[in-house]
Each structure stands twice: as structure tokens, then as C-alpha cells.
């Protein structure tokens, strides 16, 4: 789609109105995240994390003034596609940062990479683009979706759990996480339960849990589902008889709702707010001072994404015209990630350490996940081998 006369004059009129003239060498970054509905908190963290990095650098990345265009995908594939094509065709952005959810990424992937625009995902890391469909224009700064669950299986082994009750929502990511857990967990899985997405009442599942004889439960219940499950788990008095282990269920986006009920619960992840390194300490305190809440992994990955772009644009001397040079500079990942060691694999997915985490209550009464120990170092995903890059 070429810009029509109407949009061109419209844009010209708008820039006159606003009194700013976009310079030719400005960096344009489009962002597609979910900012409406219950999962809006996740998208907001990404916007905040990215904005923080941008503000710290005086609104510039790699020395170039950044124009950031934030779009809400409304968690609808058609809306995401529309927003993404408009970013690429009309705004002609240099980078697209998105998305929160893997199914949104699938929707926007093709038009963006086909227009030879770099797409960097600050959260979604589906297996689809990690293997033989990997793409030279696609980078992921978070993780490959299966990895957290795989690491949870390792944590379960280390904790000595023999029987684990596994539960997830009945959709692709839910089944991926269950599969990831089963892949590394060596003990017995007593039950595999799939609930509807957006499940309200877990009492039936909790009743099954308590009679299953399992010593721990592993689950993946992002957002509101996690808040409900943890509250009801606590209400049913199961906290004393079994361990609770999860991914994306007790994180900084859900803990304000779960509070004390989640303290002591185990999780696996690539980062925790209290991980002790200089870059991270600076990030967390700056973030809290600015936005008034403890950042979660979403904000952290967005912050890293901004720093990654900063390093790449600086390396190419501020120009983004030579795509090969930009790609090489991105791939080098020459920035200090707040999670410590970070590099890209051949499929442009991260190679990084994964850790066992637990939920703690801070002295000021706020809750966050806390670093316990590193479970696996320089962990790469299992699809990279199929990628021809």
C-alpha cells in the first residue's frame, strides 16, 4: 500500500500543526502491544520499560532522536495486522517492537519482515519462528516460549518432587508449557488438566489436586487466571500440603493481586528484580521511582530491547539504511543486559541463564519474585538447530 494523496496531505497538515518537522535522519520505532482488556497491564509494562530507556538517553537511541509510535493490538489478530501494516507502509518505521502475545506476533510477522523492517519481540517467543521459519529480520529479546517450562522441570527435579500435578489453560501456549515441563521433569505426572482460557472457578481442579497425592503442582496461568488460582489455592488450605510451582503465574503483574497468598511459591525465569548487578539495580530503582510499581520481566525485556537498538544504531554510525550492517550490529548484542550475560543464537533468539525464583514480600509491603539460584547457564532453545541462518 502506497501512501495516498489524502494521507500525505493529512500528515503534512499534522506536522505543520504540531510545529515539528521530522528530520530525515530521525529514528522511527513502531510498537505493537496489547493495551486493552485484562492483559493491558503486560503491554503497559513494555511501554514503560521502553520509555524509561529512551528517557534515560534523552529521547535518543544510538544518537538519533526517536519518534516512538505506540499501537494497541487489542488482542485481536486482525487489529494487530492492520496496525502493523500501517506502521510499515504509512509511517515507514525503521523498527517494529512487539508483541506481548504469540498469536499477535504470528499475525504481524509476515507483512513486517517482508517489507524488510526489523521486528524485535520484547516478549512473545513462539517456536514457530525459532526453527526452520527463522527470519533474518526477526529478533527476540525475551526467551523461547518453551524454555521457562523446561527450566521448571529442572527445578522440580532439583527440589526432589516425585509426583507433580500439571495444569494449564486449553490453548497453544498452555499445551506448549505442559510439553516443555514434561520434557525435562524426571518424576511422575499424576494428572494433566486443561481448563478453559479465562477460567474463573478452580475449585473442581483444586479438589482433584488435593486427592491426587502429588507433592507439587506445576501450572501456567497468566494474568487474572493466576490471581484467581493462587487465591483459591490458598483458600482451600492446600498451601500446607503441596508446593506451588509456576511460570507467568506469580509475576510482578499478578503479585499485587495475589499478595501474601503467593509468598514462597516457586517460579522459573530469566530474571528477577532483585538480581544483583549494577545495570539491574539502576534499572529497577529508576523504574520504581518513575512509575511507582516494581517492574516485571515484560518491562525488563522492553528496557533491554531499547538498549539493544541503541547499541546497534550506534554501531552503524546512526544510519539504518544498510540492513545487513544493522542486522550484524543487532546480532552482536553489544549492550549490558540487566539480566547479565546475553547473546543471540543463530536463530536470533537469546542464549541466557535461567534461574529458580521465589515470591517474597519486601519490607515496604510490596511483593516481587526473588532470585534463588541459577539453574542452567547459557541455555539455548531446542529449535535453533533447524534454523538455516
Amino acid at each position: 500500500m502506497k501512501p495516498t494523496f489524502k494521507t500525505a496531505t493529512g500528515a503534512a497538515a499534522l506536522s505543520l500543526l504540531m510545529g515539528t518537522t521530522a528530520l530525515a535522519d530521525d529514528l522511527k520505532i513502531g510498537m505493537v502491544v496489547t493495551l486493552s482488556g485484562p492483559p493491558a497491564a503486560l503491554g503497559q509494562q513494555i511501554v514503560d520499560g521502553f520509555q524509561l530507556a529512551l528517557d534515560e538517553k534523552g529521547g535518543k537511541l544510538g544518537g538519533q532522536t526517536v519518534e516512538l509510535i505506540v499501537e494497541d493490538d487489542e488482542l485481536k489478530p486482525d487489529v494487530a495486522l492492520l496496525k502493523a501494516t500501517s506502521l510499515v507502509d504509512r509511517e515507514e518505521v525503521d523498527f517494529v517492537v512487539g508483541t506481548v502475545f504469540s498469536n499477535m506476533l504470528q499475525a504481524i510477522f509476515k507483512p513486517i519482515v517482508e517489507s524488510e523492517t526489523f521486528l524485535i519481540s520484547p516478549n512473545a517467543g513462539p517456536s514457530t519462528f525459532a526453527g526452520k521459519n527463522c527470519n533474518p529480520y526477526f529478533f527476540v529479546t525475551s526467551y523461547q516460549n518453551n524454555q521457562n517450562a523446561e527450566v521448571s522441570g529442572m527445578v522440580a527435579n532439583e527440589e526432589g518432587f516425585e509426583n507433580v500435578f500439571v495444569m494449564a489453560p486449553n490453548y497453544q501456549a498452555g499445551r506448549d508449557n505442559v510439553e516443555g515441563f514434561n520434557q525435562t521433569f524426571k518424576g511422575a505426572v499424576t494428572d494433566e488438566v486443561f481448563t478453559p482460557l479465562g477460567h474463573q472457578d478452580f475449585s473442581a481442579e483444586l479438589a482433584r489436586m488435593s486427592t491426587s497425592g502429588a507433592d507439587a503442582v506445576f501450572t501456567f496461568m497468566p494474568g487474572g487466571m493466576g490471581v484467581r488460582l493462587v487465591g483459591q489455592f490458598d483458600g482451600a488450605g492446600l498451601k500446607d500440603s503441596m508446593k506451588f510451582m509456576s511460570v507467568f503465574t506469580t509475576d510482578e503483574t499478578t503479585l499485587p493481586g495475589q499478595k501474601d497468598a503467593a509468598v514462597g511459591f516457586l517460579a522459573a525465569g530469566n530474571w528477577a528484580p532483585d538480581m544483583d548487578n549494577d545495570a539491574n539495580n539502576a534499572f529497577v530503582s529508576a523504574f520504581e521511582a518513575k512509575y511507582g510499581y516494581i517492574p516485571g520481566g515484560y518491562a525488563m525485556q522492553a528496557y533491554d530491547t531499547a538498549n539493544l537498538i541503541d547499541s546497534a544504531v550506534a554501531a552503524t554510525g546512526g544510519s539504518v539504511d544498510d540492513k545487513d550492517a544493522v542486522r550484524a550490529a543487532l546480532k552482536a548484542a553489544d549492550f549490558s543486559s540487566v539480566r547479565g550475560d546475553f547473546s543471540f543464537n543463530n536463530n536470533h533468539y537469546p542464549v541466557q541463564d535461567f534461574h529458580a525464583l521465589t515470591v517474597v514480600k519486601r519490607d515496604d509491603g510490596k511483593f516481587h519474585t526473588s532470585f534463588v539460584r541459577t539453574v542452567v547457564e547459557d541455555y539455548a532453545d531446542s529449535f535453533a538447530g533447524e534454523c538455516g541462518m
Binding site: 485484562p38 493491558a40 486449553n170 479465562g198 475449585s203 490471581v227 484467581r228 487465591g231 482451600a236
Partner: protein, 308 residues
């Protein structure tokens, strides 16, 4: 599946059913008595949950907050009726759907603006926290038992009001022949307003008692509205008794289905197959029931008298 587990499932089904009844009762009266399609009814449920959250935070006492929430929910219902719905009674169903859908979007966004997009929760009141030991491994939360009790009390109260009081008689009459009731000198506008306010308050009450169990989030009423419509279609539009029977039925079928379907299919197919089909089929059960009712008893299980 042990007997205790089955018993627990039944209790859960009953509790879910009663929650559905509180929402469906208002919906069926508004729909049946006024012939008015109120999609915004589900959002009243969300409003109730946010009200109890806000008032508990303000007063620090669940019981005072409960009272304040009910009064506010009633007021919000009356205000909505006066400002918006009153203008829509004579309009077509499409206009009603559009306007009430607009209210859903507005209130969902308002909740997000006021309270943020993150999921919130409140603690169960001190008096009702804790759980009862049923068997060695099984415990049941006291709060859930209390909601069953409260739901039953409200159901009986509504039934008595509709069946034996003057207002109830007028509501029943108004649902079948509103013109005649109006011709007899009854202020039908005021009657509608009462029905509407009470309906909104009941939905708000459902939100209040659901808040400590389920989480509070924008848009939480959208899904439950669909189930509430299923309930009133199964029960018969405009019929309180029908709404009660259908709500309990839907609650039990949904809860039991989710647990038993996979096990049942496990007898017929292999385990992974059952795990694939079971959850999908279980979520379809209540809609299958609704389809069957529409085919074999289109007026519902217990249709309101005189509905043509």
C-alpha cells in the same frame, strides 16, 4: 473419583449456580417484564466487584463496605435507567443492543482508568475465612459455604416477593400484559424502575460475593453475561423459578462436566485423546443443553405464565 470429591464438585456446582442465579434473576425480569435487552447487565456484576474493592479499601471493614456497595449498585442501576435505558424501551432491539453495548465499553474503560488494568483482589472477610476439614485431604472454604447459604436466602426471598406481594403481582402482570396493567392505573414506569434497580443490585451483589473468590478485573462481567443469557433461555424468559432451576442446572453441568468429561472419555479413547477432546467438549455442554431446550421446549423449562 471418590464420593467426597463428587460431593465437593456438587457443592461447587451449586455455588456457581447460585451466583449465576443472582445475575440471571435481574436479567430475566428486565428482559421478560420490559422486553428490554440489557447487555450492560453483566457490567453491573463488575461494578459490584469494584465497589466492594473500593469501599473495603476506604472503610477497612467488609461488612460496612458490603452495605455501601449494595446501596451504590442500586443507585447506579437507577441512574442508568433514568439517564439511558428509559429512552430505549420503545425502540427496537437493535438500538437497545447498541446502546447497552456502549455502556459496557464505557464502564470497562472507566474501571481501567480508575483502578488500572491489573487484576485486583480482596481478602475474604475474617469471620468467613478458613476452611472446613471434610476428609483427611479435603477441605472446603467456609466462604463458599456462606455464599451458597446467602444465594439460597436471596432466591427464597425473591420467590416470595414475586409470588405473594403486591409489587410481585404487578411485576408478573406487567410481564404478560403491560398495557392492561397500565390501563388499570398502575405507574408502569415506576414499576420498571424498581425492577431495573433491584436487578442491577442483585448483579452487583453477585459481583460483591464473587470478588473474594474470583479476581477483579475490567471486563470480568462480559463472559458471565453470556452464561446468564444461556440460563434465562433454558429457564424460560421472565420466569424467576425457571432462572433458578436453570442456573443450578447450568452450574452443576458445567462444574461436573469439566471434571468428569475427561475421565468419561478416558474410558472410550486413549488418555491423550481424552485430554484433547474432554476440555473442549466440557465447555460446550451448557450450549448443547441450550440448543436442545430451544428445539424441544422453546419456551424454556419453566416458562412464565401467559408468555405467548
Amino acid at each position: 473419583m471418590s464420593l467426597t470429591l463428587f460431593l465437593i464438585l456438587c457443592l461447587n456446582g451449586l455455588q456457581y449456580g447460585l451466583l449465576l442465579f443472582l445475575i440471571a434473576a435481574g436479567l430475566t425480569l428486565v428482559f421478560g417484564v420490559m422486553g428490554f435487552i440489557n447487555l450492560a447487565h453483566g457490567v453491573q456484576y463488575m461494578v459490584g466487584a469494584y465497589l466492594i474493592f473500593a469501599f473495603t479499601a476506604l472503610t477497612g471493614n467488609f461488612w460496612i463496605a458490603l452495605l455501601l456497595s449494595l446501596i451504590t449498585a442500586l443507585l447506579i442501576g437507577l441512574i442508568l435507567e433514568y439517564v439511558v435505558f428509559r429512552r430505549l424501551y420503545a425502540r427496537s432491539h437493535l438500538d437497545q443492543v447498541l446502546a447497552t453495548f456502549g455502556i459496557i465499553i464505557f464502564l470497562n474503560e472507566l474501571a481501567k482508568v480508575l483502578f488500572g488494568p491489573a487484576t485486583l483482589s480482596i481478602d475474604t472477610p475474617e469471620l468467613l475465612s478458613g476452611s472446613i476439614q471434610l476428609t483427611e485431604q479435603l477441605r472446603y472454604p467456609v466462604y463458599r459455604l456462606a455464599t451458597i447459604g446467602v444465594g439460597l436466602v436471596v432466591a427464597v426471598g425473591l420467590f416470595l416477593t414475586i409470588s405473594y406481594t403486591r409489587t410481585g403481582m404487578l411485576i408478573r402482570a406487567g410481564s404478560t400484559t403491560p398495557e392492561m396493567v397500565s390501563a388499570l392505573g398502575v405507574n408502569i414506569k415506576q414499576l420498571f424502575q424498581i425492577v431495573f434497580g433491584v436487578g442491577a443490585m442483585l448483579a452487583g451483589f453477585a459481583g460483591v460475593i464473587a470478588a473474594p473468590i474470583f479476581a477483579i478485573e475490567p471486563g470480568m462481567g462480559d463472559n458471565i453475561l453470556i452464561i446468564a443469557f444461556v440460563v434465562i433461555i433454558i429457564g424460560g424468559v421472565g420466569s424467576i423459578g425457571g432462572a433458578f432451576v436453570a442456573a443450578i442446572l447450568v452450574g452443576l453441568i458445567d462444574t461436573l462436566g469439566r471434571s468428569l468429561m475427561t475421565e468419561f472419555l478416558g474410558l472410550l479413547f486413549n488418555a491423550s485423546m481424552a485430554n484433547q477432546i474432554g476440555p473442549a467438549l466440557a465447555s460446550m455442554l451448557i450450549y448443547i443443553l441450550m440448543a436442545a431446550i430451544l428445539v424441544f421446549r422453546p419456551k424454556g423449562l419453566l416458562p412464565a405464565k401467559g408468555v405467548a
